[in-house]
Symmetry: none
Subunit: 186 residues, 4 copies
DNA sequence: AATGAATGAGAGTTCATTCAT
DNA sequence: GATGAATGAACTCTCATTCAT
């Protein structure tokens, strides 16, 4: 792996083990097996590094979420697949899930835009918006439909991170997805 | 207001205006109109102070949520009331909502127990648990039922904080609550 | 002495012993017998501290130079007195002399104005300017008259600092002043 | 131009554009169009490099100053020519003038000898010393005679660098030289 | 009880120098 | 000879905490 990616991965790891607050560049360097100075060869500042990491994760998430997505297919199929992909991504990359949540709630960093916070919702927003036009979902405000689909997933992930539920269980996973589908479908 | 509460309130305000990261005891004292030293007469450390604040907010939240709650009443009534109370509390105390979210996602502080994170869910958990026993809700794992009820509310609040929806609108509020009810009801 | 002045004095001392380049806040604090943090209670930054020190020295210099100055007197008296005062000030405060010279030649710091560099010349400029109007000095450009009076003083001071001449010798002092006077007088 | 000279020239340029303080080897290399490593093939350290540059400038200055100098000629001619040469050199090589001044006042670097500071005065010292023996100059201490000749030139240069006088003006130049001559001549 | 000047460890960042290529 | 990624000590500055008043 190239050094830039090593740094990003180590950061991701550290943020989740110690939290933003206890994170410091010296530890990051030590954990990554490089020197402090080297970090600054690849990133201008701690802040930029964190922002870059966030962008990378969002991009990875979006890609994962759109896996297997087909434009012309029935909404139900696409919706369930997307939610399933999201869950799978989160479960496989708990660090990424935790990072996104921490980042979102941190007036901690100077984000370039406030909207960054909602970047991960974009794919879901898009298909719900289209379904809304075609009246294939409940007649509720779009943001609410998104919240009904995404909110429970996040809540379940929080419980999973805390070790309170097992999202690796396929049955539970499909129950979540079905329940969310029930919430939005006509 | 007594000095202890002034400090807690100022902290709440500051955390949301500047974020945990940019928070510092000097500013806290200045904003509260006292000296740094005084802060330490009431709280042992910054960390303890934050933890205390969290506990206080959770307690306030729980009280607000249980407002009007009747033991013997129909589940639907209690459920909707509870969700409505939660929404009202959050909307009226955005600072508290943001604080809770930030705190939850912060391995920032050494929490006394991980379970603290889920303290606010307790009332909801309790009534859902009872309803489950009486088979008044869908036959789904309890945590999922809680997530179906609470997740969308949190998601909507995030959008509200970002100025993307207006939760002061009564119609939207009842749409949210109804939708959540639909998700869990038999 | 108050702490603020202790810091300024220590800085003055250190700049001359070690030079701007080797100066660092830790040593400054140690030498001043305080902690690093304390320095920042009195000055916003290293740079501001140096700029403040410069301003203070210039002010002290100007005051010293105008000592005994009388508005209505013969130009020759005022001129010689001013030059004598300057020499006395420099000799008594070698550190100040060295500091001024170092500061002047340092694109080292972000000066608020370039003109700061010439602030110490103001009193001399003023009396020469007046004398010029009254045709009491040679018919040469004002800047040159200033240079003829001040340049040799500075050059002598440099030699004094290097231990090559003894400016505490009264005879040498009056020779310098007389020679400068000869340079500008009609 | 060979690489060694390129480095020296770039250094000279950079010191005057950014000052000693903001100078760093990476920028030096970039500006010189070489790599950092290469710099160290030609110079042992930053400090040595600066010291070498100083020596080179002093040498260039001395050569320029002695241009046209004739051993047997009248002192006045040699004196005026020397001062004229110095002025011309400084005006043509402002960077060199600024560098010399910065260097002189910098306990910034560990100079090999303190006397280095006065190296540029040597030619002037020499002819004044000879003239003194032959009683062709005022009966004043030699260092003062040197200061009377050189001090005003430096002062005028400082004003020139700051854009306050125009030393490219031939009349001003001859006024300076004449005035200095008046200061030292019998 | 209340103050706020003082502390100093530790933060983020820089940069002269090295060395494997 | 030439490179430039890598180093890590040292820099400026911050801030939770203390304690004499």
């Amino acid at each position: 792996m190239n050094k830039r990616d090593t740094i990003l991965n180590t950061m991701l790891h550290l943020v989740n083990r110690e939290g933003f607050y206890h994170l410091n560049m010296k530890n990051l360097a030590k954990e990554a097996g490089i020197s402090v100075g080297t970090t600054y060869l690849y990133f201008d500042s701690k802040e930029k590094l964190i922002n870059e990491l966030y962008k990378k994760i969002v991009q990875d998430f979006k890609e994962a979420v759109l896996q297997g997505h087909g434009e012309g297919r029935v909404f139900q199929i696409n919706f369930k697949e997307m939610l399933g992909n999201a869950l799978d991504f989160y479960v496989k990359n708990i660090d990424c899930f935790s990072f996104i949540e921490q980042y979102t709630y941190s007036p901690f960093l100077f984000k370039e835009t406030q909207d960054e916070n909602f970047a991960i919702l974009e794919p879901l927003q898009k298909i719900i918006s289209e379904a809304k036009l075609k009246k294939e979902v409940k007649n509720l405000p779009e943001p609410l439909l998104v919240a009904l689909a995404h909110g429970p997933v996040i809540s379940m992930m929080k419980l999973f991170v805390a070790g309170k539920v097992n999202l690796k269980d396929k049955k539970l996973k499909s129950q979540i997805i079905d329940a969310c589908w029930q919430s939005v479908k006509l």
